[in-house]
Amino acid sequence: MASTDTFTDIRGCPSGARPLHRPRRRVPREPPASSFPTRSGDFGTGARTRTGTGARLRNPAERARRQWAVSGWAGLSVVCRPGVGGMAQSRGMTSIKATSGGESAVRVRGLVKHYGSTKALDGVDLDVRQGTVLGVLGPNGAGKTTLVRVLSTLVQPDAGTAMVAGYDVLTQPRQLRRVIGLTGQYASVDEKLSGRENLYMIGRLLDLSRKDARRRAEEMLERFSLTEAAKRPAAQYSGGMRRRLDLAASMVGHPAVLYLDEPTTGLDPRTRNEVWREVRRMVGDGSTVLLTTQYMEEAEQLADELTVVDRGRVIAEGRVDELKARIGGRTLRIRPTDGHRPAEMAEALAASPVTGVGGATADVEDGTVTVPIVDDDQLTAVVRLLAERGFGIAEIGTSLPSLDEVFLAVTGQKASVPQDPRPAADNSDDLEGAAV
């Protein structure tokens, strides 16, 4: 969790200020010792993240952690303040286009692809800014894979345009193939060949000399921890090794733009984490990534911006935390110290004159109190009030709705979260289209 926060936040800097070529240096993954609870189960809901949009952070430990993470980029010529990006952008469907200063590495407009009467893509617009990760989130059959196949020149669109690194998918497919890498359930390696031979072959196909292809293959094997298995045919690899080999194969050519089509589908949690780690490394190396996924958690973990698709249409887009903020309000979660019952705390809050705390509820099972956040001053007011009344606070944090909730809310398939009226109005057209 912690690592993602730093990650998202750093790349949330105004994109104009971001250097194009990032230093090879990694963002430190683990923050220095912090009193802030880091176990994901602390508040009982693993699905929720305890981030809060950056600029609004009130928790000193959290703030310190982020600043520390930014200063960890010692090699960076531009150091940006943490958390600026998230709030700088306006709300609404056009937010990315309107405010992004960065160049689009992938630019898609009005993309249409029909298979018979099935509209796999029904007018998709999206942008992936250089050096960022765009998550394309949607259920099975939403058109995610068709989108990736169009962008990697495997499928020709019926209408619309798509540019990748300045090349048009329709008119410049050859040039385009030079700058992309593809990892998906389908774009695979040769199962009969060993890991090493697969990578060597790809190096040769990418016009590396024999020597360079061999060296590059070894580098990739080492980097993806496959050196020991290098001689074995890929068919004998475990699921995780296989996926790592797929990733390695797509990285041989230093692609400027990388497509990851459901990279962790069908993997167990441990292997999934391995793949995530590798993806973060790739992004750290400066790749622009378009990631499709049906897992909210994956998008949350890896993406800077999100495009939610359903039935071939974009139904929502924006920064991850922004999107979450639009759908449901942030909540404050407080765990009282032993000896204080959550119910009493909730009652005390609800009865208090502080604005917006009327909705305070106790989660008995969890042992926490949840307070909807209406404005920022409320946080301090709540803490002060609890102190005055003599309640002890064991843990406190803010959380946004999980992407599961976001997705269900915007697709209208299951409105599990009370919706903010504003985004609902923004998206009404799309929702109608999607709900047919």
């Binding site: 499928v155 196909l205 990418l206 016009d207 230093h254």
Partner: protein
């Protein structure tokens, strides 16, 4: 940590800004893919069984089951000289057929999609397949000839003519591969590719002069066997090994090979490019 030693992609891009793939690069890609197909065989030696065993089994079967009936008891040796050049034609076909199932399989496994998103000429994948299959055909032909010689075949002309016969059946076999590639790209499963291939192959092989002279066949069948390219090929290689007029059947075979390639190769490449 990794990139310092390798040519950066920008340089590669600049050198080939128009995106065309040059001849030398194309050859390099094809050789990398040939290597891949060869390694596959190394990894899965069973895939060579057809090339290794078919010539042995077929020669033994035809010489000893049909040889006596066709050429008279005790005259099997004469039949060897008749049937082995014909089997050379057939061998090419049977092996060419494997290319279709192989391509079909590659698409299933997803490795094709990787190739198709790489900056290589898409035909190079197909050409590499054909090169490897021609290698397999060569192996099968060598075994076939070895069997033939063991059973008493003699070359009445000379080694050059024998080689010419081998080359001719390879050329014709290669042209047939395009048909099977097209089939492999069109049909849904490898099994159906094989099924359809058998349906096409059986009448062509047996309705020809490969196994027996056509003179005893009814007129309608003779008119079929006369235009059957396999008859032409069998006649040509027989004439090249045993002596006799070669010109007509050789030219006819070459015309067929060129014709088949000219029609099916572009179709196959197009299908390969468009296959979703």
């Amino acid at each position: 940590m990794s990139t310092a030693t390798i040519t950066p992609p920008a340089a590669v891009r600049g050198a080939r800004s128009e995106g065309r793939i040059g001849l030398r690069a194309n050859l390099r890609h094809i050789s990398a893919l040939v290597r891949r197909n060869a390694l596959q065989i190394k990894q899965d030696p069973e895939s060579m069984f057809d090339a290794l065993l078919m010539p042995i089994i077929f020669t033994l079967l035809f010489v000893y089951v049909f040889g006596g009936a066709i050429s008279g008891k005790g005259h099997q040796a004469a039949y060897v000289n008749y049937v082995v050049p014909g089997l050379m034609a057939m061998m090419g076909m049977n092996i060419a057929q494997a290319v279709g199932t192989g391509i079909n399989d590659d698409f299933k496994k997803g490795v094709m999609d990787r190739f198709r998103t790489m900056p290589i000429a898409r035909s190079s994948v197909l050409i590499a397949k054909i090169v490897v299959e021609i290698g397999r055909m060569l192996v099968a032909t060598a075994i076939l000839l070895g069997m033939g010689f063991a059973l008493g075949m003699t070359v009445h002309t000379d080694v050059l003519h024998l080689l010419a016969a081998v080359v001719l059946s390879l050329v014709f076999g290669a042209s047939l591969m395009w048909i099977f590639i097209l089939l492999g790209l069109t049909m849904k499963t490898a099994q159906s590719v094989q099924g359809v291939a058998m349906l096409v192959l059986m009448p062509l092989q047996f309705g020809s002069s490969i196994f027996a002279p056509t003179t005893t066949m009814p007129g309608w069948l003779q008119s079929f066997t006369d235009v059957n390219p396999l008859s032409n090929l069998a006649d040509a290689s027989r004439a090249l090994v045993n002596g006799g007029a070669v010109a007509h059947s050789v030219w006819m075979t070459l015309a067929w090979a060129i014709g088949i390639t000219a029609v099916t190769a572009p179709l196959a490449v197009m299908r390969f490019r468009k296959k979703a």
